[in-house]
């Protein structure tokens, strides 16, 4: 328990999956923990009801593109990223959408929970691109296994997740905690057709329960993973917050941390947070964990300037906020000549990873191709009406298109470029006077080389599926996977945190989440962030 001189043993900033996991581990080890969250608590039923009442029902990426908003609250002290909160100043818009609520962004994630491949940790030494990790896959493997168990991952054992149709890869110390979801008709039919072109189907591991898991019922295929799983079958960070609170952790919602203070010896002494009424409060602790995801975490470090730390906290390397990555992607719409029936089961499951790893990564990035298992009925309908299709012809058209129109999307690995960065805006502030994030993002030739390769795959897919390509979007689609902005490395001169995710500059400040990742791979990063977070928890339990 904390001694009287501190408010808590550990203060955690951010209540998402990373903060929740660490809070749970620490609370279970009888440490006193306070978790701060900028946004409010939300109830599932309220989000579901808001979604049901919304005239436009789209997945999160489309909702943002079309300005449809989100069923999650946007509050003056915690503005939604769906609005104009993020300031774009670079050549490419980094239209990410994270959530500022208790439980964090996993509330609306599709719940892909991948492991990276061993080679993803050695990008520089193998392919001369980006950076190497200071730790190897083997070192992280036990934490991947624990993270999969904690988050409740369902997956298919024995798949070659490197996409080559070979032996099971990467190596695993445990089977998937739950067996994989049964593929729907569409997934089976597509797999069958694309296999003829040498494309190896892979069903992605994900956070949807396939049997009762803890308090989660099995996935019932509501096809609504984002914006919200209506029955809590899909993992989200609020579940670990729930567990942490049952073990004694304290969660302060609507509490926006705006300053981290360090003593001259480098030890963090306190954090300051603001309530919606702008009242200011201070908390002290032995150890601090920053887990506010890849935009807010660096923004807070950069805002925390002082005479001793004029460039902000943990920023002696000048790398805080830099190396911003994503899985910047492209997509295409096709119309098949047979009914495929998208919309049955989860919103995503089938992926192709033929170009996940290989010597080609010297020349172009690793990428993943996925099919979106959603049916945008309202867009299909408005498209037809715009063409003047009405009456029974309209019904017919909706039926046809909803059964046959498919959206394919590619996620590319991006590289940690120092010019791609997050900074606190100098000109724009939110309602409680805090600077909003300013984002500079660009895409190098390396990415474009990948795009050219993926477009060849698209052509090939259309041929194998006997489908017509209706449209292709190469407009740098954001994939909501924020990485790199508090990058990990052994050298304090060019990285922010060390191999334990401890900041080089402050021995009692850790950074949890995907922002520490030195390479992005082409797969969704949440599980990697969770594994790293459990590793942090082990270190902090021993030290505090």
């Amino acid at each position: 328990m904390s001694s009287a001189e501190f408010d808590a043993d550990v203060v955690i900033i951010g209540s998402g999956v990373m903060g929740g996991l660490i809070a749970t581990e620490l609370a279970k080890a009888n440490k006193s923990v306070i978790v701060l969250e900028a946004g409010p608590r939300v109830n599932r039923r309220d989000i579901v009801e808001t979604f049901r009442n919304a005239p436009v029902k789209l997945s999160l990426a489309n909702a943002k593109l079309q300005g449809a908003g989100s069923p999650y609250p946007s509050l003056p002290h915690a503005p939604s990223t769906y609005g104009d909160y993020l300031q774009q100043v670079g050549p490419v818009k980094y239209n990410t959408s994270y959530l500022r609520v208790v439980g964090g962004t996993t509330w609306h994630f599709g719940s892909s929970l991948w492991r990276m491949l061993p080679n993803d940790f050695r990008l520089k030494s193998l392919y001369g691109r980006g950076r190497d990790w200071p730790i190897s896959y083997d070192e992280l493997e036990p934490f991947y296994a624990r993270a999969e168990t904690e988050l409740g991952v369902s997956g298919v054992d024995g798949q070659d997740e490197s996409g080559q149709g070979g032996k099971a890869w990467p190596p695993r110390s445990i089977p998937y905690p739950m067996e994989g979801l049964k593929p729907s008709y569409m997934f089976k039919r597509l797999s069958e057709m694309l296999s003829k072109g040498g494309y190896n189907p892979i069903l992605e591991p994900n956070g949807r329960a396939t049997r009762p898991y803890g308090k989660r019922p099995p996935c019932a295929g509501n096809n609504n993973c984002n914006p919200v799983c209506p029955i809590a079958a899909k993992y989200d960070g609020s579940m670990h917050i729930d567990e942490a609170e049952r073990h004694g952790a304290k969660v302060l919602d609507n509490s926006v941390v705006y300053k981290i203070e360090s003593g001259d010896d480098g030890k963090i002494t306190a954090i300051w947070y603001m309530r919606p009424d702008k009242s200011q409060h201070k908390l002290t602790a032995k150890t601090f964990v920053l887990a506010a995801y890849g935009i807010e975490s660096p923004k807070l470090l950069l805002m925390s300037t002082s005479d001793k730390y004029p460039n902000g906290i943990a920023n002696s390397s000048d790398q805080v906020g830099r190396n911003l990555m994503d899985h910047t992607g492209i997509s295409m719409n096709v119309m098949t000549k047979e009914d495929m029936w998208p919309g049955e089961g989860p919103t995503q499951l089938l992926v192709y990873l033929n170009s996940r790893d290989g010597a080609f990564r010297k020349d172009y990035p690793s990428y993943k191709i996925k099919v979106r298992n959603t049916v945008p009925t309202s867009q299909i309908t408005s498209g037809l009406i715009a063409k003047g299709v009405l009456g029974s012809k309209l019904d017919e058209g909706i039926r046809l298109q909803s059964a046959r129109s498919l959206n394919w999307a590619v996620d590319f690995e991006t590289l940690p470029l120092p010019e791609n960065r997050v900074t606190p805006s100098k000109t724009k502030f939110d309602a409680i006077g805090l600077p909003v994030p300013e984002i500079y993002y660009s895409v190098p030739e390396y990415w474009h080389a990948g795009k050219a390769k993926a477009l060849e795959d698209f052509q090939q897919f259309a041929k194998l599926l006997d489908a017509d390509i209706l449209s292709t979007d190469v407009g740098f689609q954001n994939r909501q996977h924020i990485m790199g902005t508090t990058i990990m490395g052994d050298d304090p001169k060019d990285s922010v945190v060390d191999r334990d995710c401890r900041t080089h500059d402050h021995p009692n400040l850790f950074i949890a989440g995907t922002s520490v990742m030195p390479s992005a791979s082409c797969v969704n990063p949440t599980l990697t962030g969770a594994a790293l977070s459990l590793r942090i928890a082990d270190v902090v339990v021993k030290e505090v």
Binding site: V42, N43, R45, D46, V48, N53, A220
Partner: protein, 473 residues
Amino acid sequence: MQSPTIELVPRNVLKGRGTVRAVAAFLTLMLCAVSAAQAEPLGADASPGKGVAVAADCVACHTAPGGKPYAGGYGLSSPMGVIYSTNITPSKTAGIGGYSQEDFARAVRDGVAGDGSHLYPAMPYTSYAKMTDGDIAALYDYFMHEVQPVDATTPKTTLAFPFNVRASMIGWNALFHSAERFKADASKSAEVNRGDYLVNALAHCDTCHTPRNLLMGADNGRALSGGSLGGWYAPNITSDKVSGIGAWSTDELVAYLRTGHAEGKAQAAGPMAEAVENSLQHLDDTDLKAIAAYLLQTRPVSSGETKARHEFGQASANELTLRGSKPEDPGFHIFSGTCANCHQPNGQGNSQYPSLFHNTATARADNLVAAIVFGVHREVDGVAIDMPAFGPEALFTDRLNDQQIADVSNYVLSQFGNSALKVSSADVAQTRAGGPPSPLVTLAKFTIPAIVLVCLLIALGLWLIVRRQRKVA
């Protein structure tokens, strides 16, 4: 040595799903329901004794969640405190390894432990009393030779006064316990007799489904006509066409017992779900049909209903008429955000989730509220049926408070079920607390008068019995 019974200890906290199985009180329906109990399927080569053990569902009460089978230590909460079951493995030190077959028979059928102390009827010996000598011998054989001995002791028991007076059981037994073994009724078929034996002896259905009198004895004048247990209600299963199961077909009854689900009728939840999971699903069809045959020929007992409990309700059109019009009924919003995802906005369910109308769960407020508070969990043929709990065990993002559960219950009752019923937040609070208080516990609050009254009643009972026996003699 500990006696093979379930005993009371004055504790109040019970973790995990066990609270679902809150038991009303001392001397009431000591319904043991252990979700973690590992009932193995009965293979074709199973010994007769194993068959008896599964039909009698010993494993449910005598196994702690995650514990070794029959090693006891499972805690059941009651208004008196937590009840711990004992170790009935053949361990010489911690279990019943030292029991002779006679000791064993006496414990199971007469409620007297090896050391001569009286058991509390948490152990359903009033039903097991009817077990045949053959089944007792087979069961003894099973426990001695097939069950793995576990030397771990279970929590020791001392009861809060006045319930710690074990000798009071002599009086209670004189009033409510019959040592008579099962006798087949020659005027009935072999099937009905087998069903009678299962319902009233081995599977001890009567333990929960027969109402209790003021002193918690079975009210056999209204046998199988329904009783409260914890927050749940074990309904009338007599052959009455309205109040009971008289309108059910044999196939429906067998399907219900086998899977916990009868289409258009009912699903097993709470303690019944555990009876299905641990015991009934493993019985063979002949036995399940025998239970159905027996129930369908029982003396009908009306509990005053005018409509069978599976006949209520219809689909709702509210989603179409109210969406977008800002309806004020808070129950509509909770239903839409919480229940409609699975049961569908019109309440008709789908292939995975039951309809809310033509469903006994929405004909009674108590079982509806209990299902919402505690959820529904049962595993049949390795497939889990899982409705999350929305009470205190729920994730904070999904939890409902008493008023919210009352609101949504009233919405469901009015739309899909018995619209004459109303639920208040106090009703929900009572379900959370383990159901209506037992009369005996209420009496115990007035400790001294209660003891005097109980003693007087017992004495009176003994006197009556003695007098009657003399007359007979």
